[in-house]
Amino acid sequence: MTGFVERHPIWSLIILLIMAFLAWLIFAVWPPGLEEAIGRKKVFLSAVFNGITLGGLYFLVASGFTLIFGLMRNVNLAHGSLYLFGGYVGYGISAATGSWILAFIAAFIVVAIIGVLLQLLVFRRMEGQDLRQTMVTIGLSIVFADLMLWAFGGDFYQIQTPAWLIGPVQLPLMTAMKSSGEAVFLQYPLVRLVIFCGSVVIGILMWLALNRTRVGMIVRAGVDDREILAATGVQIQLVFVLVFAFGAGLAGIAGVVGGTFQSISPGEDTRFLLASLVVVIVGGMGSIPGAALGAIIIGLAEQLGSVYIPTYAIVVTFLIMVLVLALRPQGLLARR
């Protein structure tokens, strides 16, 4: 950090000024001129929060994807199908038992088992053959999509939000001042905040596990050099299976999250595959902090775009991807 400041004093100053301006936008009561120019503060603040919470969902999907890629160099293009299947499993469990928490556990376990099967039956048989793996996973995603369409139909499923999470909460952020001097605070859906906190916790736990535990050390070593790691006597295939199961399980959890604050239906698989591809391309393939940064950037771009430039909102996401590919092709936070 200090190194960056010393090397790029001007950039640091610009970044600092932008951050200060953003902080002012978020915390200050907007002067009337600004409200006229870009709309009410409530809209802006909500869009920022929505972008960040949507980023939380993207992070859950993309972190599994990037973890699997980082360790095994498998571009698993069936990752979106795992997301969608997790959503359906979660819906089934929550409809049958009425428990939202149980839906997460079940989705994680079931989808993780599918991940294990994928690794054992598909990827292990074609290790190191990137193109074959890619083609096979594209094929699998099409087969899965049709199987799920057959089993669940084209209907939209929504996972029931538990009663204690429905409705808005008041955040200590002022959006306006009434003429009486009374402050108006931002109302925000509780469920989105809870889900966002959940994904932050998962992200931190993953980072700790990767950087502070023995298993994490093995995984990191595997990312750097698989052959040497295997030569030191580590059962690399077991590590692969575990990582794949975990990454797939995360996609399953993300499916439940997506089914709770949006809905699940055919086509969601490709949408989230595309989103996680964009996120990891922006953040850097194989990097967990990169996935987090990419997810927040894409989430914010989508939401702020949909409010301020609705016509071109979809383009913004891809513009960001193009810019990153042009200026920093390895991704923002990639190590190599």
């Binding site: 709309g39 409530k42 809209v43 603040l45 909500s46 869009a47 929060f49 929505n50 972008g51 919470t53 949507l54 139909g153 084209g154 209907d155 939209f156 499923y157 929504q158 996972i159 029931q160 939000t161 429905i166 409705g167 808005p168 109302q187 925000y188 859906p189 509780l190 469920v191 989105r192 604050f261 949006q262 809905s263 239906s265 055919p266 086509g267 949408r271 989508e302 939401q303 702020l304 949909s306 409010v307 609705p310 016509t311 909102a313 979809i314």
Partner: protein, 416 residues
């Protein structure tokens, strides 16, 4: 020798009779949105189509109808691709297509490149399709989005007392047409529309859209359909939204009213207008509902047919009746069939339908209000039935032309 000759005679007779009985087929291509945001709408459209075949049968004199189905995803290019495939690969002679607004405009334009074939619109409802430069071989037996909103503005203004509303709609031709119909009537009476938000078809995250809804309005009009509508309602409930709602024709429809989850309960009491009302007492409607229910087991259908099922039923019915009138004669570039379609008047489940000079339906419209049947199922209850709604909505042609074509900003909120 003798035996062999008899055998030969028998074989010849068999061959002859089999050629005599081999039925000539009339091939009809059908498209529906069986993928993407409008999947549920496409599926129920096909149920309406199948119900029509169950009721009317597939026989046209001594010929038999054969249907080939192709899937689209509500984008214009997917519709043109599907129609082209049906014509070029499956060699269909007649098309029953498409379902959605933008698709309709594209297929109408495509129809001009095949003047010898006949196109019967399945359910699409953009105004432009039949109002601007209509194709002579494209027939629409359902009303357009603006016709389907007739009566809603007046009911909102006079009975409900709404003076200022905001709209949220999907960003494409059908919803433009719906808001067009609503705005003409509501603003004509003195109502105000304070903001019109447009979201891309297939939007999943409506949180920012919901946050941007104005607080100081009497009601919010929702022009959404399929997955978009369900997602909106779900997130609206989570955000604690409590405004009065008004609905477009595919928003207040069984495709949404029967969706899973309880977010749809936000719609109870919502006023809407459409080409049908679930609880209409008319015997033709009740008969259709019964036929629909009998055609599919309860878990494979909605409690009551959606607008899409009704439209597909109506267009299939019009096609079969017209074909029967000309006894399946498709000679001379199908000119007899086209003439029959242009002047046929059908007794559809949702009222009598006849076509105007642009081959656009003139029919009956319904103002409705959403009610709970007491068992958790939601239905649209009839408030008002408005017969003989034409495409210019009662305006004379010159005044109507001055308003302009439906778009994000047209019509202006004023009296024309």
């Amino acid at each position: 020798m003798h035996m062999r000759r008899v055998g030969f005679a028998v074989v010849t007779a068999l061959l002859l009779s089999s050629t005599a009985y081999a039925q000539e087929k009339i091939k009809v291509g059908v498209t529906a949105t069986l993928e993407g945001t409008y999947t549920v709408l496409g599926e129920d459209g096909m149920r309406g189509h199948v119900t029509a075949l169950n009721v009317l049968g597939k026989k046209i004199g001594d010929k038999e109808l054969e249907f080939v189905v192709a899937s689209t995803d509500a984008t214009p290019d997917s519709a043109v691709r599907a129609v082209r495939k049906l014509i070029e690969q499956d060699k269909v002679q007649i098309l029953l297509s498409p379902l959605s607004g933008d698709e309709g405009i594209a297929v109408k334009n495509f129809a001009k490149t095949h003047p010898e074939l006949t196109f019967v619109n399945a359910a699409s409802g953009a105004q432009e399709t039949t109002y601007v430069d209509p194709a002579p071989n494209f027939f629409r037996f359902n009303m357009d989005g603006a016709q389907w909103q007739v009566g809603l503005g007046k009911y909102a203004y006079e009975t409900k007392g709404y003076r200022k509303i905001a709209t949220v709609g999907e960003d494409y031709s059908f919803i433009y047409t719906q808001v067009f119909g609503l705005a003409l009537e509501f603003c004509g009476l003195g109502g105000k529309i304070s903001s019109r938000q447009w979201v891309p078809l297939g939007t999943k995250d409506f949180a920012s859209v919901i946050a941007a809804l104005p607080d100081d309005v009497d009601a919010i009009y929702l022009g959404l359909g399929g997955a978009d509508a369900v997602n909106f309602l779900n997130q609206y409930q989570q955000a604690g939204g409590k405004a009065h709602l008004m609905g477009g024709s595919i928003m207040i429809d069984q495709t949404i009213l029967s969706s899973k989850g309880n977010a749809k309960n936000a719609l109870i009491g919502t006023i809407a207008a459409s080409g049908q009302a679930d609880t209409w007492e008319d015997p033709r409607w009740q008969k259709f509902v019964k036929a629909y229910q009998d055609s599919f087991p309860p878990e494979k259908r909605f409690p009551s047919p959606s607008l899409l099922a009704t439209n597909y039923y109506g267009s299939t019915m019009a096609l079969i009746l017209a074909l029967r009138e000309v006894n399946g004669d498709l000679s001379d570039n199908q000119s007899k069939l086209k003439a029959a379609l242009a002047k046929i008047e059908i007794d559809a489940p949702n009222g009598k339908i006849k076509l105007d000079s642009n081959r656009q339906a003139i029919g009956t419209n319904f103002v409705t209000e959403v009610v709970d049947d007491g068992k958790g199922a939601l239905f649209s209850k009839v408030v008002k039935v408005i017969p003989d709604v034409n495409q210019t909505l009662g305006y004379d042609a010159a005044t109507f032309a001055k308003i302009g074509l439906p778009s994000r900003t047209v019509p202006e909120c004023k009296k024309y």
